[in-house]
């Protein structure tokens, strides 16, 4: 998992709970990296799961909500860092469809060791999109956060429902925009 996921995760926690909590959860988790992350580095995904688990125990929050929040946060970061990906598209579905074929592909060029999910999309019309997330890292809630944030960014409202299939590491998101 790329370091940016960790640095951004910690920065979100620090903003929400202060650097005391960051210090605590790092100390209480068993992290091979010792919690020193750089965005260009690569770390084991289990470190993220550990951090989430410890945090939820410490602050008694729900891990799903936490990942969802993180999705929203991460979206803001990407928007800041790579505005061109967003400007290319006018409709949120165009953007979401471009993740698999364009955005994540560009990510892989930069970081050949990045571990990216796969997205299969199926657009019924401009108001309904199905998006099948497949990843061994099981971060569907993160994806949901990112998707929700995408809709907000393109000033659209709607619902994001999902059906998960843990046996196949996949979750299907059904995104419906309000007319």
């Amino acid at each position: 998992m790329k370091g940016i996921v960790f640095t951004e995760f910690l920065s979100m926690i620090e903003n929400q709970y202060g650097d005391g909590v960051v210090d605590t959860i790092i100390n209480q988790s068993e992290l091979p990296s010792g919690g020193a992350y750089t965005s260009v580095g690569t770390y084991d995904i289990s470190e993220l799961h550990q951090l989430i688990k410890t945090l939820c125990r410490e602050t008694s929050c729900d891990s799903k909500n936490l990942l969802n929040d993180f999705g929203h946060h991460l979206f803001g970061t990407f928007l800041n860092l790579y505005p061109e990906f967003f400007n290319r598209c006018k409709h949120p579905f165009d953007f979401l469809e471009s993740i698999e074929n364009h955005i994540h592909r560009e990510v892989l060029k930069l970081y050949p060791d990045a571990e990216l999910p796969s997205f299969q999309t199926n657009r019924t019309n401009d108001f309904k999109l199905e998006m099948k997330y497949t990843s061994a890292r099981h971060l569907a809630e993160l994806a949901r956060g990112l998707i929700e944030a995408s809709l907000e960014h393109y000033k659209k409202s709607g619902t994001v429902n999902s059906i998960s299939d843990p046996n196949h590491d996949s979750t299907i998101f059904v995104i419906e925009l309000n007319r």
């Binding site: 370091g3 650097d19 005391g20 790092i26 100390n27 010792g34 020193a36 750089t38 260009v40 580095g41």
Partner: protein, 844 residues
């Protein structure tokens, strides 16, 4: 303070750990980046090596190619060449297969023979001499070409390389030779062709020479290579004197240097050209020559120099010059005549204008009958003199070509109607009818010169009027099918039932100062220049007038002019009976009318009341602003020329009020020049309702700006039982008053009480020479004539305004004409008013 508090202590520790993590993270990042840049460096290196390897490979492949080609070529060559050895004293020792084939002998027949046996006897001596020399001088290698004779008796040329070979003690010559017969033959053929060429060139040169054309050839540096006899004669130099000289330095008259430079440039690009320059002969005399210069080429196809063919044109040039001088002189004389005429006319016009003006004033003063008659004669004579001078000026302008043709969009229909109106008034006195007959659609503006068209029509209709004492005059137009989509062709014909023109006179009617019946000038007045001018004006427009005539029956003058199409429709005011169509929604609107002229106020009141539009009246600009601010109007009708704050300013101020940003403000004005219209737009006015206007004009505007609903025709009005006099424009009056005779009577009486005062004031101003003030009054009274059915006088007012704007001295004359016209129609208006009042009483 020492931080001993435990929470502070903890904070410091958290920070410390945070800093430590940051440090580690940075270390990692740096390691990562270093690794990355190392990878990059490696990748670069590999790329470079790969590149070098590629280049190397290409290089080796290239050399391989060259080598194999060389090998191949040697093979072919050896196979084709003749190879043999000869002893030092000239006997064959070895020959190869190719040699045997060429000579046509067996090996045994050649070996042991002396080489001279095989050579063309004519060349033996030369070849032998060459090789003896070669041997005795101990030279290593040589080359020589000569013909041999084969067994079949054929001549074959060979080119032979001989090399001296020393093998131990033994010395011999080894020869490689090649059959070059073909080459030699084609060379010979070339020489032949060249010879032919030279001969034909010579032929042509002598032909040219015989035609009195002098030929000279110069090289690329301008040095004379050759000069032929005729050229020598022309220049006065001998051939020897010319060859080797710089042609320009020796021959060219210096002022033509630039012409020559240009020619050099052309020639170096291989372009041939003809030009005229002056040359200086040996005896110093200068001659004009026409030169046709063309580059010539050497054997390798490069430009080697120029051959110039010279033709003496001195005589022609002199003739030309004389002619030019003569023409200039004539033109100058003509110009002087025109200028003189223009000046004279101007000089005469100024005093003449005062004569006419003063006569007019004199006429108004108390006179006895005899004096009155005298004054009348003065008036008549001075008017005639005046139009004569105007015509002369026109002719001289036309002849000097100083008439500028304009191109503007204009309303042809309006011009025609104005002319009809103008002449109707005049012709009525003689009881002649002037009709206008339009065949085809004239519903759009056309592009052309309205002034010229007007002048042409005025002249022709005026002419018809002059020679017609009874019957009628008809102005007829016809739209002809046009060849192009952006042109409209109009044929105009002016028919009259006048005295006509006899067959003998017909060809001369367009001559200057010619009037059909020679004595008719006296009878009919005029200058005799009218038709000349008309013809010339039409020529300017690319047209021509044609005439048909029968004595005592009448004449027809016709011409065709094409105008540009504009696609701009003339705002419709077709007369579709008397019903008014006003959108229902318009009637609920509220209007503000700003107008200072009492007569116009009444007119507008009548028109607006008729369709039930509520309106408020502002007497001037300041009042309009105030009222607009206090109330809320849906439309504003704005007179432009008002005392104090005028319509422009009032509009601009009203527009400053936010709720009036989009309210239509319509200018009411008699100014319709295009410059004025752009001024209207600038001031924020939406449209112009030109004065004088008919009810239909007003309603069209109101419908356009206020009406959105459906069309709801007013009930039809029955025709008025009151019949206006034939001498007034009846249709106009019916349109304006629409059966409301009470109202018409009101307007007529206002007209009769106002206009004389206004004209009296005009007379005062004339005495004080106050043009601007006069113009203002004329402008103010202009629409009122239309309202009493005298549109022709309105047209005269427009003309007068135009003259004032052009600072034309004829302005005062026009003003007097207006006064006269009013005076002569006054009694008609009075009797008309009386009739109306009687009619009203009857109704009551």
């Amino acid at each position: 303070m020492i931080p001993n508090n435990s929470s502070e202590q903890r904070e410091i520790e958290i920070l410390k750990r945070k800093v430590e993590r940051e440090r580690k993270a940075r270390q990692q990042a740096e390691d990562f980046l270093e690794k990355r840049s190392l990878e990059l460096f490696e990748a670069n290196n590999q790329l470079k090596q790969f590149n070098e390897k590629l280049e190397e490979e290409i290089r080796t492949r290239n050399t391989q190619l060259v080598e194999s080609e060389l090998r191949y070529r040697t093979l072919v060559e050896t196979a084709q060449d003749i190879i043999f050895n000869i002893s030092t004293d000239g006997y064959f020792e070895f020959v190869n297969q190719v040699a045997k084939e060429l000579f046509g002998y067996d090996e045994s027949e050649i070996i042991g023979q002396h080489f001279t046996e095989f050579i063309d006897p004519d060349h033996v001596e030369r070849v032998l001499g060459f090789y003896i020399h070669f041997r005795d001088k101990n030279e290593q290698a040589s080359y020589l070409e000569f013909p041999i004779i084969t067994r079949q008796g054929e001549h074959r040329w060979i080119g032979q390389k001989v090399r001296r070979v020393e093998m131990g003690n033994r010395v011999y010559f080894s020869a490689y030779a090649r059959d070059i017969t073909q080459q030699i033959e084609s060379e010979k053929a070339l020489i032949n062709v060249k010879e032919e060429l030279r001969k034909s060139e010579m032929k042509y040169r002598s032909m040219i020479e015989n035609m009195e054309l002098g030929i000279m050839e110069v090289d690329n540096h301008g040095i004379i290579l050759n000069a032929y006899d005729r050229f020598c004669e022309m220049s006065g130099y001998s051939r020897q004197e010319l060859v080797g000289q710089n042609a320009e330095e020796l021959l060219l008259v210096p002022e033509f240097k630039a012409v020559m430079d240009l020619q050099h440039q052309q020639r170096s690009k291989g372009i041939a050209d003809t030009y005229e320059i002056k040359l200086k002969r040996k005896d110093g005399e200068e001659i004009w020559v026409l030169i046709s210069g063309a580059p010539f080429y050497n054997e390798s196809g490069e430009v080697a120099g120029t051959a110039g063919i010279h033709y003496d044109i001195t005589e022609r040039k002199n003739l030309e010059r004389d002619l030019q001088e003569a023409r200039l002189k004539a033109e100058k004389a003509q110009m002087a005549e025109h200028e003189f005429l223009a000046n004279m006319s101007h000089e005469i016009r100024t005093p003449l204008n005062s004569i006419i003006g003063m006569t007019h004033i004199l006429k108004e003063s108390p006179l006895n009958d005899e004096q009155h008659d005298l004054v009348k004669i003065i008036t008549h004579s001075s008017r005639l003199l005046h139009s004569l001078i105007n015509d002369i000026l026109d002719v001289s302008k036309l002849e000097a070509g100083s008439v500028i043709i304009r191109n503007e969009d204009f309303n042809l229909l309006e011009i025609l109607e104005n002319i009809q109106n103008t002449f109707s008034v005049k012709a009525r006195e003689k009881n002649i009818e002037v009709s206008l007959d339009i065949n085809g659609q004239l519903d759009e503006l056309v592009n052309g010169d309205p002034l010229l068209i007007n002048q042409i029509l005025m002249n022709l209709v005026g002419n018809a009027e002059k020679f017609t004492d009874q019957g009628k005059i008809c102005i007829e137009t016809e739209i002809l099918p046009s060849e192009s989509d952006d042109q409209i062709q109009v044929r105009f014909a002016i028919h009259d039932s006048g005295i006509g023109i006899s067959q003998e006179q017909l060809p001369h009617i367009f001559d200057k100062f010619h009037q059909a019946a020679m004595s008719s000038t006296k009878r009919h007045g005029g200058t005799g220049l009218g038709l000349t001018i008309t013809q010339k004006l039409l020529q300017l427009l690319g047209s021509e007038v044609s005439v048909t005539s029968e004595e005592e029956k009448g004449s027809t003058f016709s011409f065709t002019i094409s105008f540009g199409k504009t696609g701009k429709l003339i705002r419709t005011k077709e007369k579709t009976g008397n019903e008014w169509e006003l959108h229902a929604s318009v009637r609920s609107k509220r209007a503000l009318v700003a107008e200072d002229n009492k007569l116009n106020q009444k007119y507008l009141d009548m028109l607006l009341a008729k369709v039930g539009i509520n309106y408020d009246l502002a007497e001037n600009g300041a009042e309009a602003i105030q009222m607009a601010a206090q109330n809320s109007y849906d439309i504003i009708l704005m007179d432009i020329q008002m005392p104090g704050v005028d319509g422009f300013e009032a509009t601009a101020r009203i527009r400053e009020i936010t709720r009036y940003n989009d309210v239509p403000i319509i200018a009411l004005s008699a100014m319709t020049m295009s410059s004025h219209i752009s001024q209207l737009e600038e001031a924020g006015l939406d449209d112009l309702l030109p004065k004088p206007f008919t009810p239909r004009d007003l309603y069209t505007i109101l419908n356009y700006y206020l009406g959105y609903g459906s069309v709801e025709p007013e009930p039809e009005f029955t025709e008025s039982e009151f019949h206006f006099s034939k001498e007034l424009d009846r249709q106009l009056l019916i349109d304006s008053y629409d059966n409301d005779i009470e109202y018409a009577a009101d307007i007529f009486s206002t007209f009769l009480s106002n206009t004389p005062d206004e004209l009296k004031r005009v007379q005062e101003f004339i005495k004080q020479n106050k043009t601007a003030e006069i113009r203002t009054i004329i402008h103010r009274i202009k629409p009122t004539f239309q309202m009493v059915g005298l549109p022709a006088i309105s047209v005269m007012c427009s003309d007068a305004e135009k003259l004032a704007d052009e600072k034309n001295e004829d302005f005062m004359l026009k003003v007097n004409e207006i006064t006269d016209a009013f005076e002569s129609t006054r009694s008609l208006i009075i009797s008309e008013l009386e009739r109306m009042q009687n009619y009203i009483k009857q109704l009551a």
